[in-house]
């Protein structure tokens, strides 16, 4: 009897240990032939092209003999187009699809159908909200960190004496931006940011002209404004241009999330001394490694699975704390840009 107990205890122990054994870092073996599709929200956007470059870099390193397909819909046909591409990829029986989801849960039936055919579904940049039909989400940065990075940049630009600043966001209902602004407001409660005063939030709907006008409206509305913080690549460029055009850069600075190539001139002329963004090249690179590792069976879509993603180092799949269901790989960190590194990054 005792023996039996011992044996079962040992078996239980092995049962506990076994997953740990599997958790050891997996090796991603190059050289497999896997058909893979990289699907952006839509074509013709600089950051998605950068992600494509990163994915191509990973494809070369992993010596995948199958060409990476970079397929996307047009902006006006984003939802139906994404569904069509996922459905056709399922028909073709590709190995993996990497989706920057612009269709909310409307992509779910198509993603589930692809998944049911054994296709690995990796999301990047923007996940499937319900996580149905998705293996894992490669997240660019943590939402809370975004808020803190913005608060830090505001502090560094406004200095110890602080001052009044305003936020120029995308649309009032943009989930990403709202979460980042909320995180920033939480961060601002810390004593070291006590002298920073958030005057107001306006929305430019990620359209250049609207954002430009909203930035100028902010100047009129808040006479003591010293900084415009724009957590959107469209907003930050428009705000910087507005301040430059009105010769206001000496008085009001611009910061936020921006693309080095678009911000180069404004960082050089002092309108936007500091801004941040994650690298979309890295995001594409890591997404490709993740999808390839899943498709070749090197890792499974389970929390705790860990693998080495080439030059970027080791990543581990965890439960996604930002959604009810779903798994995530957190890329991070932010890259901060200023006069010292913006030129190199803009190339």
């Amino acid at each position: 009897m005792k023996k039996l107990l011992l044996a079962s205890a040992a078996a239980a122990l092995i049962g506990v240990l076994a997953p740990h054994a599997a958790m050891a870092q997996a090796t991603v073996k190059p050289g497999s032939a896997v058909d893979m599709v990289l699907l952006p929200k839509f074509l013709g956007i600089a950051v998605f092209d950068q992600a494509h470059n990163g994915a191509e870099e990973a494809a070369k390193e992993l010596k995948n003999s199958k060409k990476l397909q970079y397929l996307g819909p047009t902006p006006e046909n984003s939802v139906a187009g994404q569904i069509e591409i996922v459905t056709n990829a399922a028909t073709q029986g590709v190995g993996a699809i990497m989706i920057s989801n612009n269709s909310g849960d409307q992509i779910v039936p198509a993603a589930k159908a692809a998944h049911a055919k054994g296709i690995k579904v990796v999301t990047w940049d923007s996940p499937i909200p319900s996580a149905e039909g998705e293996d894992v989400f490669v997240a660019q940065v943590d939402f809370a960190e975004t808020g803190k990075v913005m608060a830090d940049m505001a502090l560094s630009i406004l200095g110890a004496e602080g001052g009044s600043f305003a936020v120029l966001s995308a649309s009032p209902d943009a989930a990403n931006q709202n979460a980042w602004i909320a995180a920033m407001q939480t961060a601002l409660k810390e004593p070291k940011y006590a002298k920073l005063k958030l005057a107001g939030i306006v929305y430019g709907n990620d359209q250049s002209e609207t954002s430009y006008n909203q930035a100028l409206a902010l100047v009129d509305k808040y006479k003591d404004l010293k900084l415009i913080m724009a957590p959107t690549t469209v907003g930050i460029v428009s705000a910087a241009k507005a301040m430059q055009d009105e010769n206001l850069c000496g008085k009001i600075k611009v910061s936020g999330l921006g693309l080095p190539s678009e911000m180069l001139a404004y960082t050089k002329n002092g309108c936007a001394p500091q801004f941040a963004l994650w690298s979309f090249v890295d995001l594409g690179y890591l997404s490709y490694y993740t999808a390839y590792a899943l498709a070749t069976g090197a890792i499974k879509a389970e929390a705790g699975q860990s693998f080495k993603a080439g030059r970027m180092g080791t990543y581990t799949i965890t439960k996604d704390p930002t959604r009810k269901e779903g798994l995530r790989i957190l890329m991070g960190p932010f890259s901060k840009y200023d006069i010292n590194n913006v030129e190199a990054a803009a190339k």
Binding site: G44, T74, E84, G104, P129
Partner: protein, 321 residues
């Protein structure tokens, strides 16, 4: 029902195009001929082609309905809104269909009884009905519909076919009979050819027009609900911009934008041409702007060719006399 010879030739041209495209698809990809793919080929555009059938009647009648895509979105949003407000799904669906018919009735009233051009009336509808849809659901996505509803749009119910595909086939048959074998169909053509003449010969033109717009709204609503079932969730921007694809299909089918001519066979062939072309390009990994440009070029040709043919024809005739 005899047709002018150049129209007959138009259908032949579409058929030739279809054979060519199908041949190219077969040569290009082994996945094309699978049953699953053929079903997907229809499924991916099924809502648009259902609406295109009714649009054929509207355009032949000399009118246009630009509001169909907004009505699709409106119906989906009404159903989602009511369902989440606690209504049973079947009742919510009926209310959504009714909202579509009502939207159509409003279009029809202003067009037929007040006499405003349908282009302007339904353009206002395009904006207004979309506005109501967006107010109803705001910027949320409504999901969590009953399984039977999602199954309508996502799972094969009749052999490999989905409910949507069966509805399309049945509706095609009904429309063909109505347009080409019924008195109503003849009135649609007569009014499209010469509204004044129709009016003076005692046709109740207002009533016919109103009826057509109500049917257009109700069918667009049905298509919107099928779209919601296929996607499993509803947003305010559902089906935005679909009206252009729908009108494209009808015009490529040889229906004159000025009304009075065209037939359902042409539209059926046009549907097959566009769907097979899209599917083939999709499977050949051609997407985005390239796909849009190819279909755009096809439409330009389809509008230019018949007109050029007619112009040449007229000139030739002029020289003879």
């Amino acid at each position: 029902m005899t047709l002018p010879p150049f129209l007959r030739r138009w259908e032949t041209l579409l058929l030739a195009m279809l054979v060519l495209i199908a041949g190219a698809n077969m040569a290009a990809t082994p996945f094309y001929l699978g049953v699953g793919n053929i079903v997907n080929l229809f499924q991916l555009e099924i809502e648009k082609i259902i609406v295109a059938l009714m649009m054929t009647l509207i355009i032949i009648n000399g009118e246009i309905d630009l509001s169909v895509a907004s009505v699709m979105g409106l119906a989906a949003c009404v159903a989602a809104y009511l369902f989440h407000a606690g209504w049973p799904m079947p009742v919510a669906l009926l209310a959504a269909l009714a909202s579509g018919a009502l939207a159509g009735a409003i279009n029809g009233f202003w067009t037929a009884y007040v006499g405003l051009p349908s282009l302007a009336v339904t353009l206002a509808g395009l904006i207004g009905y979309r506005g109501i849809a967006r107010i109803l659901v705001e910027d949320r996505a409504y999901g969590g519909f009953p399984d039977w509803f999602n199954a309508l749009g996502q799972q094969p119910q009749f052999g490999p076919l989905t409910v949507s595909i069966v509805i399309f086939v049945v509706m095609f048959a009904i429309m063909a009979v109505v347009l080409h074998r019924s008195i109503l169909g003849r009135l649609v053509y007569v009014m499209g050819n010469n509204l004044q003449a129709a009016r003076y010969s005692g046709v109740r033109v207002k009533r016919v027009k109103l009826l057509l717009f109500i049917a257009s709204g109700a069918i667009a609503a049905l298509a919107g609900l099928l779209y919601a079932a296929r996607l499993g969730s509803v947003r305010g921007d559902m089906a935005v911009g679909f009206e252009l694809d729908i009108i494209t299909i009808v015009l490529l089918g040889g229906v004159s934008i000025f009304g009075g001519s065209g037939n359902l066979l042409g539209v059926g062939l046009s549907i097959l041409v566009i769907l097979n072309l899209r599917n083939g390009m999709g499977l050949a990994d051609i997407t985005g702007n390239t796909q849009t440009s190819v279909i755009g070029a096809l439409l330009i040709l389809s509008v230019l060719l018949p007109n050029m043919a007619q112009a040449v024809h007229t000139k030739w005739k002029g020289r003879e006399t």
